[in-house]
Each structure stands twice: as structure tokens, then as C-alpha cells.
Symmetry: C2
Subunit: 569 residues, 2 copies
């Protein structure tokens, strides 16, 4: 709609498209709730008051608030594509996200970012991106790409790029790594804020990190940490994801400080949680249940992230802003009943209406570059004692121990009796044939193998198993699917989930993906694993920035020493 | 300082320049005050804590807050140039201003804006500008320039242009005037907010104005007006200037709403007030005296304007931000004792230190284009009754009345007995010889004349007097000074103030300007005028947007009808 036509409606000289009458409107500016009607034309709020309109909907005194914004999310963690993720969160009232395509960028590089930007077009919600700042995450493994400052530069031309994404390389920042500073400088030159990732950073180190230009953090785990970061000038994103759940620990912060620097994020939510728990709506509701003022909780989901990312057209029910709303009956037990985007009703009671339209998912470039011929999980017994990765249940941290090697015929084999299983990381980006081999304890498999192309952050294929043959079967299935997750035993595939987009994302709805994950977990259980989510555990074993012992395609990594170590001691 | 060197200091590996130890630090993020030390290197805050430093200053437990920011000011109203204005406000703790060079732009056009940008270089405080959006203010008079959207466009390349300035033409906005919308669109394309100017605008009209993209207002005069504007998404600048003083009326707003959308501004402060009262410091102090929480009052002078204008390096005592501070002993009776800019002590107890350095003022292009030969204040008596501008004491509003014309020899003359004086506006931008003539009541002059090249908004020469000869003497003096203010009687100049910069600004310190204004007012009083500030009154008589009857070089304007009217009825 032309501004001149919009202004006609604003002057009351032409009818608006829609009048949402008899609402209690949540004013995130003042913190108050006031009765009124909201007029919409051309997808934007015309004003609050009685305007002539083609359609009037009586909200019967229910509450109307701005649509919710996730300030930091990896869509890849939903294991489905942008379109299906958008559908899943839109029905819960999320009308905008700032997504960091860090995972797909580690696989497909700049092409992955372009894929995500292209996928965002025509979605029912506003999909913005933070540019991945740390691809690859480390040099201890083989990623699919390396993104230098010069590679990121052109993306700043796209107005949907609203930030430089979480700067995980804080040693690089603190030591003034020129390439890291170049990326920060590029963001600032282009008027974009830089998101941080600084778990536990404090004192001088935190000050230096902030002084370098990094102005947010979503890794706080204690109130004291959050308060220190806020005092240093950071926006703090309180995270409640699938793995990391910081809401309870950080709720005291909301009362202790001006809430204007606080917002919510999910970071990573798996399909099951998106369905069972919801998205930002679930965090707002939990905060209110815990005693946070309802408008404050909503403001942290709306105006605050909008202001942090310069999204001046979002985040409030106010003239000129996009008509993205949630409607609910009871702030004390917030449940989103209706969702409007650009003035269109797109969901009611958690289900899509006809108004929820998503474009067909885009196919992505092939990403499984593995030669199955010659793939060999065999491991010469070059010593008597070897390092073992010890799982800690429900954590992505591991410990390390040293055990006597289970050997048969001069080769190291899995020993289910001692719960010592072979684990491998198969390079999948450039057909190098490179494979890292090790031992892990804690999976509990009695037979078979589990394999996945979701393996943070470089997303090679990680596979654990009892018999080499089953490890090969599971890996071959992952490759054959063009990426995905598989459980195999006795030479056949027991369960599978194709993830054809970069080996990370499905083209199916979240419901189908969640069901497939359930089948995979059931299969793993059938093979003997007691773990709640063995595939999530598996996906973090290749991440060499989380202590203590991890494995990549280049072999074992002692994370505390930040160096490769041999399998045998 | 290179970021890499800065980071060395931040890591504690190199000494900082300065440690302000033993302070109570005002944290505008959290709203709290915490004891600590602030380290500075390269003019920026390194961190809070104990750092090795080349110089340590013990603040003895005094309070340290961010330097103050004036969110909307016309430097021209100080009647002195940027350098002298900067000195005057810097010693009071103002370390940044967002100035709208609306006045000089009405005289010198784009060259005036370039002059102000050039003048800002090297100043002790941070001088940012909002681009004048309404030059000329109206078509009822002759201004020195006309600035179209295309003329403004190049200025957005300068990072010191932080907004499009107050959009006074709200009818143009509401009616979708294409040229007005083009200016707004340019600002938004360049990522700059648009400041508003919408006295009394409400309801649908306000909504339309905001929807068009205008996101602040400094013209609120009641709490209800401010609350409506805040709910519409506007940032509200509470103004306490020389003429318009809205603080008392708007203080209730601070408690009634989230303060994060509120800030302070002076808009226009005359030299005398800058010296006697101060600047933003005086507003913060008055707010605190009136019961506003001290940190909230300071936040409205620091973080809030910094965020509104995207000045992410200002507005807080936090790592990486510019080391602009004020130091004081008692928040309850705030008096700024020391001022630091970029880590340099520039003022103590309201007086500059050696650290306060200003570059020499820049000369401006000549702006008095008047042919004195042939200048004639004679006025044929073309009727018996004429319209009279009636002053309302201490207001810039006027009324109109109709009186019998005082006539001598077929010509209209002043009649001091009835306090009917001749008033003229002499076009001074393009030697057109155009002159508007009228009658005014309320100046009370018994003899002589007063003339000024400060005459909002087109700044032609406005002159009032008893005898034509004295009107000519005063006008000639204004022209001879290259602009300024003069009082004349009996053929000689009684008092004068040269304003060689566009006829608006002196090159002398505020103290000298204030003394000259005092002499001018004394001279006016000597000539019979009882007015508190006859020159300020005079300067608004040519402003045809303030009701009811005004005069321009094109004659009388009935402001309520927004059209020219004849002198005789």
C-alpha cells in the first residue's frame, strides 16, 4: 500500500481493512493496558480508536499484544526448514525471529546463508538473520566452509541482516585477532550491532570483549553474571532452549534492573519441545507464572528485541508499525488464542488458519561428499591403553578417562560389556576420506549403531556403534539420504530421518520430524541405550569447544588444552 | 588509539591513561549506583575495576555519571557560534548535543548546514545534527534558501547527521505532500530517525503523523499529551528552554510510564539563561528536586537520547564508550563539580580547565544582502482604519485589533501616545528591496527604534520604532555589523550586538553576548519599553506560524487563516 493511500485511511477518509474492536491493548511503551480498538490498513496499524473499516472483529475485551520476537535462534535446531519452522512458531504467536544460520553456514558457507535468506521470502513471519561470525568454529576439525570478513561483507547490503551473529571466538576478540576485529568493524560500519557469546566471561575480560564492540549475550547462567553484563552495557537475552534452560536462574534479574535491556530467546529448540512446550509464548507464560509483571514479560518479547535490532516497524501496537498481534484472554495464564501477521489472522488456538500460507520449501545443494568405498572403521591396536570419552548424562560436557583397550585380532573393537563403544567422525564436506576414531562410554548400546550428519559445529558424520558393519550401514544410510540420522542393526536400518537440507534440516513439518526422532530414540533404546536423547548427545561429541574430551574428523581433542591428543596413551 | 592498543590496556598488559578511583558510579542500565573505579584509555572507558594507570584521581566517594546530552537544541538561540556554545554548556556537564541548524539553514541554506558541520570539528563536546526538514518554514515570507529532499540527501553521508530534524510541516505530512514524504523516506533509507514537532496533535491526526515515520516530539505541554504520544510510539523530549518551559507540566509523566522513552531538551536557551541557570544540568537537578529518582533523571539525560539517536558509543559509563563524565557530590542537589570529555578534565566548578580547548570560530559567508539606498519606511495612508498586532506580554502569541490609523501628511506614523508603533520586516537575503509594514501595540517605546536580524524563521530584519529615521539608523547598523541587533535614538546607535554569523550568531563568548543583550535591553528600557525582553518579542513577530497576526517581508499574515491580509481594513 502506498503511503498516500495509507494516509487516507489514517485521516479517516477511506475505510481501513480491519478494525479489531473492544480489545485491551498492551502498551509496551508505558507498561499499561488500555481498552480500545486497533485499525489496520495495508498490513500496518493505522491508529487506536474508532475508524471506518471494511471488516470489524469484536475481541470481546480480550487482550491484544504485539507478536513475539525470538532474539536469538538457530532454525537448524528445529531440524526443519525455514517454512516449516515458521509455521510451527507462528501458531504460538512468534511473528519475528532473529536467526543465526551458523550451522548451515558451517556446511554450505555463504551459499548456506543465501539459502536461508531466499527461504525467508514469503514466510508468514518476519525472518531476520544475524551473520554467522565464527565459521568454522575451530581449526580442530574440517568444516564445509571458511567465512572471512570479506565473505561476510556483501551480506550487509541485505536489510534482513540485522546483526553480526554470536561472536564465540572470544579469545580472538580479547587478543585482537585482526580477522575477528575486521568482522566486528564491518558490522559497525554497516550500522549493525554485534551479538555476543561469552559464557562466564567476567571482569577485565568481559570489559575488553564489550569494549571491542559486542553488545549482547545469551549465555548467562546466573543472575550475577547477567547483572555484570548489563552493567557493562550488554543487552541480555534470557535463554530457554531445549538443552540450555536459564529462565529460572535469571528471573531474579528482571526485578533487579531496568528491564529495557532484557529479552527472551530460545537459541536451540528441538522439534519435540516446539510442539509440546511452544516457543517464546512458553517463556513469557513461565515468566509471568513466576511473578514477572505481564507487560514487562511481553515487552521483553516485543519492543526490547525490536529496539536492539533496529526493527522500528515491529515490537508494538502503534501507528505505522506492522500489524503483528497475539490475542489472549488471561495474562496470568498466557495462552495465545489468535495470531495476526500484517493484519491477517494466521492461527487460532495453536492451529493454522487459511491465512497461514508458506511457500514450498526450497531444495538445497547436495552436502554429503563422502566416498563410501573404502570407508573403514577398523582401528589398529597401536597401544594397550586408550583415552575414553565419558558421557555425563544430560549434559554436553564430557570427562575423559583411560582404559585398557578391548582388542581382537590386533584391532580395537567395541566392548558392550564395559560399555566401551567405537565412535567415529567421518569428514563429509570434501571427500577427503578423513576419519577420526575413538572410544566412548555411556551410550549403553548392546548392538547396532547410530549415525548423524548433525554434529556441531562442522556437521561431519558422527557414528557410534558395537559392530563396524552396523556403523557402516548407518553411515551409508545417512549419506544415501543426502544427510540425516539413522539407527542400524544386523545389517539393516532400524529407523531414519532424512535431513536433505545441508544434512541438518528436513523438508517435512515439525510434527513429522518429531515423530521420526521419537522412532529413532525408540530404536536406540531397543539397541540398549538408556539415554533420554542419544542423538542430541551424539551431535555434541564432535564439538571441540565444550570440555573435556571430544572427537573430530582429525581425531581426539583435549578441549581444556585446546589441542589434538592421540587415542593411545 | 588503535583497537589493538586499547585491548592491551583492557587486558591489563599496558597502563591505562587514567583511573578515576573511589567513585560511586551511576549505572544507567540497571538504575543502580555502585562503588568502583573507572579506567580510561584513548578517551574511552576500558572497564570498571582496578587497572594499572599512568594517572590516578581519587574521587573521594563522589558520584560519577555519564556526561549529559541535549536531545534537541538550536545552537543559534545561544546567539553565539558552535565553539562558544560548546564552552558554555560543557562546563555545566553537557558533553553531547543533537542540534538542529534550522535557523542558519533558513539564512544560508545547505551552506549553513555545512558551516555548522565544519564548526563542530574539534569541539570539546560531541556535536551532532538533525537535518532541518522545513526550510523555509512557510511560503508567506522570503527565506534565504529552500531545501528540497534532494538538497538534504548528500548530508546523510555524514555520520554526525543523526536524524531528520523537527518536522513542523504536519499538515504536509498528514496530507501526504510528496516533497515532505520524500524527506522522511530519505531519512529512513539512511537509517536515521525523524524528529517531530506536533504541538497539540492528537487522535487520528497524531496517529497519521506517527505512522508516516515520525518518532519523537518535544512540543508536549501537558502530561496527557505526552502520554498519548508515548503510547503512539514516540520518544518524548521534555523541554525546558528560555521561552517554552514544560518541565513542571510534564514531570508527572516520568512516574506514570516507563522512562526509557523520555529525555530532556532545551530547544532554545538564550545566553542569559545558559549562564544564570545552566543547561541540561539544571533540568536534571530540577527534576530530582521535584522528586524524580536521580538515576532516572540522569538516564533521561544520557542513555535515552544516546539510544534514540543510535549513539552507541555514548550515554553510559561502560566499556568501550567514550569517557564523558560528570562528577558531583550530592545527587539530591545535583551540581556538576567536574566534567570529563574523552577522559580529559575540561571543567571544574563551572569553569573551564586548561583541558577545555576550542578551535577558533569559523567566519561565515556574508548574509546581509540589503540595499540601504532607497530603503524607505514611509507608508501611504491608504485607509482610515488599520490592523494592529497586539502583543501578549511574555508570550510569542499575538492578538489582532483594528484601530484608527495615526496619519500625518497623508502618511501613517507611529503614535507613542496610543502605543501604536510602526513595525517593518526588511528582506535581507536577496536585495529585493521588499519591505513589509505594519503597526504593533505593546512595545511601549516613547522614542527611538529597535532592529534585529534574528527574526524567526526567515530571519529578515525586523524593526520597530517611533521615527522612520531611527528605524533606518537601527536597520543600517544591523546591516553594517553584517547582522545583529541594535537600538537607536536621535540619529545615533544606543546599543548593539554584532551577529556576523548569518545575522544570528556572535563570535564572542556567551558572557560577552549576554552582557551586550543586557545593554540592549537597558537601552530599550531607556527608550520607554517595559518589556522584559523586547528583542526576543521582536524576533517572533515575523514568525507566521504562531497565531494570531504576524508580519513578514510580504506584509501582514493572519495566521489562523494562513493567508496574507492587508494593513488597512
Amino acid at each position: 500500500m502506498q503511503l498516500s493511500d495509507f494516509l487516507k485511511a489514517a485521516r479517516g477518509e477511506a475505510p481501513c481493512d480491519l478494525l479489531l474492536a473492544n480489545a485491551r491493548i498492551v502498551d509496551v511503551f508505558s507498561g499499561r493496558i488500555a481498552p480500545g480498538s486497533v485499525a489496520v490498513a495495508g498490513g500496518r496499524v493505522v491508529g487506536i480508536g474508532d475508524y471506518p473499516a471494511r471488516e470489524t472483529v469484536d475481541l470481546g475485551g480480550r487482550f491484544l499484544a504485539p507478536g513475539f520476537i525470538d532474539s536469538h535462534v538457530h532454525i537448524e535446531s528445529s531440524m526443519t526448514c525455514v517454512a516449516e519452522f515458521a509455521r510451527a512458531v507462528a501458531v504460538r504467536g512468534t511473528t519475528a525471529v532473529v536467526a543465526d544460520p551458523h550451522e548451515i553456514a558451517n556446511v554450505l558457507g555463504a551459499e548456506g546463508i543465501r539459502y536461508m535468506l531466499a527461504s525467508a521470502i514469503g514466510q508468514p513471519i518476519n525472518v531476520f538473520y544475524a551473520l554467522p561470525s565464527c565459521v568454522p568454529a575451530t581449526d580442530m576439525e574440517t568444516a564445509g566452509a571458511r567465512l572471512a570478513a570479506a565473505d561476510l561483507e556483501p551480506f550487509f547490503q541485505d536489510p534482513r541482516i540485522v546483526a553480526l551473529g554470536e561472536m564465540m571466538n572470544y579469545p580472538g576478540v580479547l587478543n585482537g585477532d585482526p580477522e575477528v576485529l575486521k568482522k566486528i568493524d564491518a558490522a559497525r560500519r554497516h550500522g549493525r550491532p554485534v551479538d555476543g557469546h561469552a559464557p562466564g566471561l567476567s571482569g577485565r575480560a568481559l570489559a575488553a570483549y564489550v569494549a571491542a564492540g559486542i553488545t549482547s549475550d545469551h549465555e548467562c547462567t546466573t543472575a550475577a553474571e547477567a547483572l555484570e553484563k548489563i552493567a557493562a552495557g550488554m543487552h541480555v537475552m534470557i535463554r530457554q532452549g531445549t538443552g540450555a534452560r536459564n529462565l529460572d536462574a535469571l528471573l531474579p534479574v528482571v526485578g533487579e534492573t531496568s528491564s529495557s535491556r532484557l529479552m527472551w530467546c530460545t537459541d536451540d529448540r528441538h522439534p519435540h519441545d516446539l510442539l509440546a512446550e511452544g516457543h517464546i509464548d512458553s517463556i513469557v507464560a513461565a515468566a509471568i507464572r513466576a511473578g514477572v509483571d505481564a507487560v514487562t514479560a511481553i515487552r521483553m518479547a516485543t519492543l526490547n528485541p525490536a529496539e536492539r535490532f533496529g526493527l522500528v516497524h515491529l515490537g508494538a501496537v502503534a501507528p505505522g508499525r506492522q500489524a503483528d498481534f497475539v490475542v489472549f484472554s488471561d495474562p496470568a495464564r498466557l495462552r495465545v488464542e489468535e495470531v495476526y501477521v500484517r493484519g491477517e489472522l494466521i492461527a487460532r488456538d495453536g492451529r493454522p488458519t487459511e491465512g497461514l500460507k508458506t511457500p514450498p520449501p526450497l531444495p538445497a545443494a547436495p552436502s554429503m561428499h563422502v566416498d563410501l568405498n573404502g570407508l573403514d572403521f577398523g582401528l589398529h591396536a597401536d597401544g594397550k591403553r586408550l583415552r575414553v570419552i565419558d558421557l555425563i548424562p544430560d549434559q554436553i560436557l564430557t570427562r575423559q578417562s583411560v582404559e585398557s583397550a578391548p582388542v581382537e585380532g590386533g584391532r580395537v573393537v567395541s566392548d558392550p560389556g564395559r560399555d566401551l563403544l567405537k565412535i567415529a567422525v567421518v569428514e563429509r564436506h570434501r571427500r577427503s576420506g578423513r576419519i577420526g576414531l575413538g572410544m566412548v562410554r555411556g551410550f549403553g548400546l548392546r548392538r547396532g549403531a547410530l549415525a548423524s550428519s548433525v554434529a556441531h559445529d562442522s556437521h561431519n558424520i558422527v557414528v557410534v556403534g558395537v559392530a563396524d558393519a552396523d556403523m557402516l550401514t548407518a553411515t551409508a544410510e545417512v549419506v544415501a539420504m543426502g544427510g540425516g540420522i539413522a539407527a542400524a542393526a544386523g545389517g539393516r536400518v532400524a529407523a531414519r530421518l532424512p535431513l536433505p537440507v545441508a544434512g541438518l534440516m528436513s523438508l517435512e513439518p515439525v510434527q513429522a520430524v518429531s515423530a521420526a526422532v521419537d522412532r529413532l530414540v525408540a530404536a536406540a533404546r531397543d539397541l540398549g541405550s538408556p539415554l533420554k536423547d542419544p542423538f542430541m548427545t551424539l551431535s555434541f561429541l564432535a564439538l571441540p569447544v565444550i570440555p573435556e574430551l571430544k572427537i573430530t574428523d582429525r581425531g581426539l581433542v583435549d578441549v581444556l588444552q585446546f589441542r589434538h591428543v592421540g587415542l593411545f596413551v
